[in-house]
Amino acid sequence: MKLHDLAHGRTGDKGDTSNISVIAYRAQDFDRLLQAVTTARVAAHLGQPVGAVTRYVLPQLGAMNFVIRGALAGGVTRSLALDAHGKCLSSVLLDMPLPDLD
């Protein structure tokens, strides 16, 4: 199972910082997502140092917000990347495998 099966999200950018929301489709899945989608696993999936990732939680919306500093190769205005905003990152994160339930 992938994160994409249980959640949706959107990427935003400010300078060299990316933020990616992860939002449960169903409230009953949110606790499982909280356990599975940790800062460490997000950092590993996106190839970023774990110290760069901060997670904020909005339980009443079934939502998490991941803020990733230094994720955009110097920022939108300096990066040579085609998707300099990192707009695609939310879909990349949703491709993350979820561990099986115990």
């Binding site: 959107r10 935003g12 205005t77 040579l80």
Partner: protein, 431 residues
């Protein structure tokens, strides 16, 4: 009675038809056009340097011509940051268009965001150095101003308020404060109004745009997507919706994606007039394409304004070429290797070589950052020269050479950024 505020643009290149629909059928009090991304104002400043009568949004005229008749008929005021680097010139153009359309509307420009004359001694977060170290590379420096200048313009009777750089949510918050008479130290209401502005400021991103994922998150009639409006109550809570008959979707899911868009700590969204707190917000579907937004809060602002500093940061030299069919990937890789060998100039400080596509249909993209334009042009030319001097059967070359405008940021005490509302004389008075 609720206060009805709509969003007619969420970025410079946004669609115009849905804005015209809101102007004509929305029954709005205010229609806001948010058109300034981080770099947009720097590009406008460069245009203004070339021609002092320009420097505002190139689509200002098209948007006003499409929306002014509907707005005038419905008594809808317009607030926008399409003034970019030259709000006064934009306001004059708006006044000319108003007159040509035979309308009687007052236009004001809000100025004061340009702080390029006092930025020198500020340290920039991204470079670590002082702004003055940029020397002639500095293009522009603009503070994200808050609601006061816009409110002053509305107090003067303006129907069309044209700003340069302002905080995006402030474009929406200001008319709410003006309409309801909220105190500027009622931080709960300012926080709620900020949330409404934040949800609306990217236009269709809250009505099902930037959301569809076929088979998983479907959006009805995305081709005819409607732009959003909010019905705001006196307490600052609101319903987000869109016009009947338009495509798209307003749901807690679309609103949650937009609520967190470009937000860091949801409990501390730093704005010029308030630190907004979205941590206790609830979103409830209260009808088809109607979501009730409640529970935002706020506290006193930091007293410092974010300033975006734009500077010239070298040149992008880029080329692309396609290879397809048998052994396509190997030919693209060989082309990249050849470019590495031919392009050894020390003026190239950074390069990115990527092969995009499946193995039988690929496109090599070779992008470089160069110290000067000539080197960037040479990079593009070497990609094109792969036609005759590279691997077999390359095609479809495209070349890009452009100056890189980088953005850095700093903070400036709000007291150093006085703003001013400049109401233009009406055509009647001038006559």
């Amino acid at each position: 009675m609720t206060f009805r505020i709509g969003c007619g643009a969420g970025f410079q290149g946004d669609r115009i038809d849905p804005a015209q629909d809101l102007a004509e059928r929305g029954g709005l009090d205010v229609l806001v056009f948010e058109c300034l991304a981080e770099r947009t104002i720097a590009l406008a400043q460069q245009a203004k340097l070339a021609d002092p009568a320009t420097g505002y949004d190139p689509l200002l005229e098209a948007r006003l011509r499409a929306c002014l008749p509907g707005c005038a008929q419905n008594g809808t005021k317009i607030i926008t940051n399409m003034g970019a680097a030259n709000p006064l010139a934009a306001a004059k153009l708006a006044q000319t268009i108003v007159a040509e359309l035979g309308l009687s509307l007052r236009v004001a420009a809000v100025t004061g965001d340009d702080v390029s004359d006092r930025i020198a001694g500020y340290a920039l977060d991204e470079t670590g150095g002082l702004a003055e170290a940029l020397g002639t590379r500095l293009v522009s420096a603009n503070a994200y101003i808050g609601v006061k200048g816009i409110i002053a313009a509305l107090d003067q009777g303006a129907d069309i308020v044209i700003c340069g750089r302002a905080s995006d949510p402030a474009l929406f918050l200001a008319p709410m404060v003006h309409h309801f008479g909220w105190s500027l130290d009622d931080f709960t209401r300012l926080g709620r109004g900020t949330l409404v502005g934040h949800l609306l400021e990217c236009s269709a991103q809250v009505t099902g745009g930037y959301f569809a994922d076929p088979g998983v998150k479907d959006v009805p009639d995305l081709a005819n997507i409607g732009f959003p409006l909010a019905e705001v109550s006196e307490d600052g809570n609101a319903v987000i919706t869109k016009l009947d008959g338009t495509g798209g979707l307003v749901s807690p899911a679309t609103c949650t994606e937009q609520l967190l868009y470009e937000i860091h700590d949801p409990a501390a969204y730093l704005q010029p007039d308030v630190i907004a707190d979205f941590s206790g917000v609830t979103l409830t579907q209260v009808g088809p394409d109607r979501v009730a937004v409640k529970g935002a809060d706020g506290r006193a602002p930091t007293g410092r304004l974010k300033v975006s500093v734009a500077y010239r940061d070298g040149w992008l030299g880029e080329g692309q070429i396609s290879y397809a069919g048998a052994n396509a990937r190997a030919r693209a890789d060989l082309a990249a290797q050849i470019l590495d060998q031919r392009l050894t100039q020390p003026q190239i400080s950074q390069r990115l070589s990527q092969v995009i596509g499946t193995d039988s249909d690929v496109r090599l993209r070779y992008a470089t950052r160069c110290a000067d334009k000539a080197t960037a042009e040479r990079v593009a030319q070497e990609v094109e020269a792969l036609y005759l001097c590279g691997p077999a059967a390359g095609g479809g070359v495209t070349k890009t050479v452009k100056e890189i405008i980088a953005i850095a940021s700093t903070l400036m005490p709000a007291g150093f950024v006085p703003t001013r509302a400049n109401l233009l004389e009406s055509a009647d008075e001038a006559a």
